[in-house]
C-alpha cells in the first residue's frame, strides 16, 4: 500500500480504533485514529485523509454530522461507517449523506479488510474518473451537454433523447458522460448504463474520424456482404466494433439500413455506398485519404 493513501478510524471506544488500526496496518495501510467527531475534524484540518472509517453514535459530535462536515469541507475523501445499528434507517441516513459502504459491529478482521479494500479502490477510481473530464472534454462540450440536460430535465422519459444528443456532442458515451447525464436527469448511473447497453445506437467506445457502418440485412446477406466485411477488416486491420490505430476509421455493422435496393450497402459518415464488393472497398477507403 502506498504511503500517500491515508485512513482515519473514528470511534469513541478505544478498543475498536486500536483493533482496526492493528488489522489494517498489518495489511500495509497507513492508519491513524480519532476518538470523536470533533477529534476527527481537528485531525483532518491538520492533515489530508483519503478514507475515513467512522462510528455513528459518539459523544460531542456524531458520525452523521462528521460526514456532513466532510462533504462540505473534504469532498474527495471517502467514508465508510462502522455501526452497531445496521438498521435500514441508519444506513439510509448515511447513504443520503454519501457513504461508500458500512461495517456492521461486531465484525471480523476479514470483513473489515474486505470493505476497506473495496472502499480504497472506489476512492482511487473516483478521484481518477472525476479528474478526467477536465482533461478529455473541452468545457464548451460539457456546457453544451448541460444545456441539453437542462432542456429535457422536466420532460418524462427523456433519457434516450438526451443520450442521443450527448453522443452527438461528445461522439460516444464514456462513463463520466453517462454519470453526468444520470446526475442531471436524477437517475442512477446504473439506469443510464442499462439504457446505453440495450440500444445498438449507443456506443461506449470512441469512433474514428470516419465511421463505417456496413449493413447485415437479409438482402445484403443474400448478396454476400460477408465478403466485403472481411475485406474491410483486412484492409483496416481491425475487427467489427473497433477503431483503427490512427483513429481514422471505425467499423460497425448495422441490422438493416433500409436501402435493400442497393445491396450490399455501406454508409461512411452520411454517405451511402451501394452494391459494394471486395473489389470496390479499397477505392472507397482510398477516397478518404
Amino acid at each position: 500500500m502506498a504511503d500517500d493513501f491515508r485512513i482515519l478510524v473514528v470511534d469513541d471506544e478505544a478498543v475498536i480504533t486500536r483493533s482496526c488500526q492493528r488489522i489494517l496496518q498489518a495489511e500495509g495501510y497507513n492508519v491513524e485514529t480519532a476518538s470523536s467527531g470533533k477529534d476527527a475534524v481537528l485531525k483532518m484540518e491538520q492533515a489530508g485523509y483519503n478514507l475515513v472509517l467512522t462510528d455513528l453514535k459518539m459523544p460531542e459530535m456524531d458520525g452523521i454530522t462528521l460526514i456532513k462536515w466532510m462533504k462540505n469541507n473534504r469532498p474527495d475523501a471517502g467514508v465508510v461507517i462502522i455501526t452497531g445499528y445496521p438498521s435500514q434507517e441508519t444506513i439510509k441516513d448515511a447513504l443520503d449523506v454519501g457513504i461508500i459502504d458500512y461495517v456492521p459491529k461486531p465484525f471480523t478482521p476479514a470483513v473489515l479488510l474486505d470493505v476497506t479494500g473495496r472502499a480504497v479502490e472506489w476512492v482511487k477510481g473516483k478521484t481518477g474518473v472525476e479528474e478526467k473530464p477536465k482533461e478529455e472534454f473541452p468545457p464548451s462540450m460539457i456546457s453544451e451537454l448541460d444545456r441539453v440536460i437542462e432542456q429535457y430535465k422536466t420532460k418524462p422519459g427523456s433519457s434516450i433523447p438526451v443520450l442521443q444528443r450527448a453522443q452527438e456532442i461528445v461522439g460516444y458515451l464514456p462513463p463520466q458522460i453517462m454519470k453526468r447525464v444520470a446526475r442531471g436527469l436524477n437517475l442512477s448511473p446504473a439506469e443510464v448504463h442499462s439504457i446505453v447497453s440495450f440500444y445498438s445506437f449507443f456506443t461506449m467506445k470512441p469512433r474514428g474520424d470516419h465511421n463505417i457502418r456496413i449493413c447485415l440485412g437479409t438482402a445484403c446477406y443474400v448478396k454476400r456482404v460477408e465478403e466485403s466485411i472481411n475485406k474491410l477488416k483486412a484492409e483496416l486491420k481491425i475487427d467489427v466494433g473497433d477503431v483503427t490505430e490512427d483513429k481514422k476509421f471505425s467499423l460497425e455493422t448495422v441490422r438493416c439500413l433500409g436501402a435493400c435496393g442497393l445491396a450490399p450497402v455501406m454508409v461512411i459518415d452520411d454517405k451511402t455506398y451501394g452494391a459494394v464488393s471486395p473489389k470496390k472497398i479499397k477505392d472507397i477507403l482510398g477516397s478518404y485519404s
Binding site: I195, F198, R255, L257, C260, L262
Partner: protein, 615 residues
Amino acid sequence: MEKYRANLLLCAGTGCVASGTQEVKEALKEELKKRDLEDEIKLVLTGCNGFCAEGPVMLVYPEEIFYQKLTVEDIPKLVEEHFLKGRPYEKLMFREPEKRAAIPLMNDIPFFKYQVLRVLRNKGMIDPDSLDEYIARDGYMAAAKALTGMTSEEIIKTIKDSGLRGRGGAGFPTGLKWEFASKSQADQKYMLCNGDEGDPGAFMDRSVMEADPHSVIEGMVIGAKAIGATKGVIYVRAEYPLAVQRLQKAIEDCREAGLLGENILDSGFSFDVEIYLGAGAFVCGEETALMRSIEGKRGMPRPRPPFPAHKGLWDKPSVLNNVETLAQIAPTILNGSEWYRTLGTEKSPGTKVFALTGDIRNVGLVEVPMGTPLKRIIYDIGGGIKKKKKKFKSVQMGGPSGGCIPESLLDIPVTYEDIVKTGAIMGSGGMVVMDEDTCMVSTSKFFLEFTADESCGKCTPCRVGTRVMLDMLTDITEGKGKEGDIETLEDLSRDIIATSLCGLGQTAPNPVLSTIRYFREEYESHIRDHWCKTGICSHLCSFHISEELCKGCQACLKACPQQAIIGEKKKAHRIIQELCIQCRSCYDTCKFGSIKIGPPGKKDLPAPVSKAEDK
C-alpha cells in the same frame, strides 16, 4: 401559380441519392439554365419512386416518360433531345433484358404495370416537403371529412367495415383496435405510429415516410379523432435521418396551416404530434416494448393484458399503428369501406406493399392487391432471377420471424392466411428472393444470429434457446453436425415458440422450421455427407472444373486469389485442391457453368464430378 410545359420528377429517395441524384440534379439545373428552359420546365425532387435498382430515376410529365440510370454525362444530350427537339431520349429508357426495344412510358414497364397504388399513391409524384402538393392530391380532405362531418363511431365503423388489417405483421384488424381504445375511459389517450422498421429486408415504411410524410400524419389525425387522443408520437429509427427530417418539416407545416394543434379546422378537435427517435433495438417493434422505449427505459415487452388499448404509454389507453396502415386511412375514409374492399380478398382486403430484393432482376418497392400470386410478383413484376442461368430456389418472407417458401408453392396468393400456411408470415412485407446458389442452412443460421442478438433477454427460452440453436446450426455448417440434430432443432423450436412472451421469441424459430420443412435434404447432406452442395459452407465442399464444359478461357485462373488453378488457353483447366481455399471466386466468374461443387476432401484430380453428384 406558374405553369410549366413539363415537370421533371427526379427521385431523391435514399437509393437514388446513393446512386447520384444530387449530382444529376445540379447537372440538370445547369443545363436547363444554359438552354434557357428554366421557366418552362420544372425540376421536382420526389420521394422514393420504388424502382431502386435502376436509380437515379426520373419521370417526365405530362408524357409520363421514364428515364433510368441517369448520369451527369447524359444530361446535356437528354435535355437537348427531349426538351429542345421533342424527341424522348431512348438511350436512358428501360429495356427488357431479352428484348431490344426501349419502353418509354412508365406504366408499360412490367415493374409498374401490375401495381395498384394506394399506400404509395403519391410516391414519386409530389415534393414530399410541400404541403400544397399533398393537398393538391386530395390531401387532408379525409381529415376534414372525419373531423367536421363524422362521429368517432362512424370513423371506426368505416375502418372496421373496410377490413383493413395492421400492416406491421400480425394483421390485427385496425378498426377493432381503435374501437377498444375509444371505449376506454381516460383523461389522456395516445395515438402512436410505429416507424421502427426493424425487419431486415423491408423498407416500405422508410419510403412512405420519405416520399409522403403527410399521408402518415393525416392517418394519425383521423385515428386520434376516432379514439379520442390529443397527443401523438411517431417512433422512427435513428438510422432513417431523411425520414425524420421530412416528417419534422411536415409536422411544422401542418401546425402552421392549422392541421395540427388546437381546434383543427375549427372542428373543436385538438391533436398534436411529436417525433421520437428510436435507438436501435429490433424488439421495439413490439408494441409494449416500443411504449417502454418512449418512456425512456429499456425496450422490453411486458405481458398482455392489460392491452395497450387500456393501459399503454404512461399507462394511458394507446393505439399503435404501423406506417403503412396509417397511410391507407385517408383514402379509405374519403372513398368508403366498399371502395377499399374492391381489391384484395374477403379476409385480406386492400393492397400490400412489398420490398422485393435479393437475387432478383427488378429490385424495389411494389404495391399489389392482396391475393396476387407470388409468381406474378416475382416473375412478372420482379423479372425473375437476376443471373441468367440460375434457377429460383426460395423466397424469404417476414424477415427473422418468417420463413422460406420453395418454388412448388409459388402459385399461392399473398394473403395473411395463405402465407401462414406455408410456415412463413406476411410480416411487414420483405420479400427476399434467393437463387440456387443459396445454402438454406446458412440462411437459417443468418436469421438465428439476428434473433439471438436482438433477443432482449427477458425470457430464458428465447435468450438461451436461440443461442443454443445458433450453436447447433454453426456446428452443422462447419461439418460438426450429428445425427439427431434436426430433430433437436425442431423440439427446441417448439419449446421456444410455446414459452416466449412476445412475438420475437414466438417467431424466432420460424426460419429454421420452414427450411427444415422444405429443404430437409440440405440439412441431411450437411450432417451426413458433410457436403454443402451450394459451396457456401467452405468447410463442406470442394471445387472442380468439368473437362467437358471448360472452354479454357482463363477467366477463373485470373480470378483465383490462391493461384490454385492451372491450365493453358483453350484447354481444360484444373484446380490444385491443396491450394484451394473454397472462396468461390472461380465459381462466380465462370460463364459456362463448368465449375462443379463436390464433397470436401476430394484431393485426387480430376475429380469424378458426375459420380459425386449421383451420390
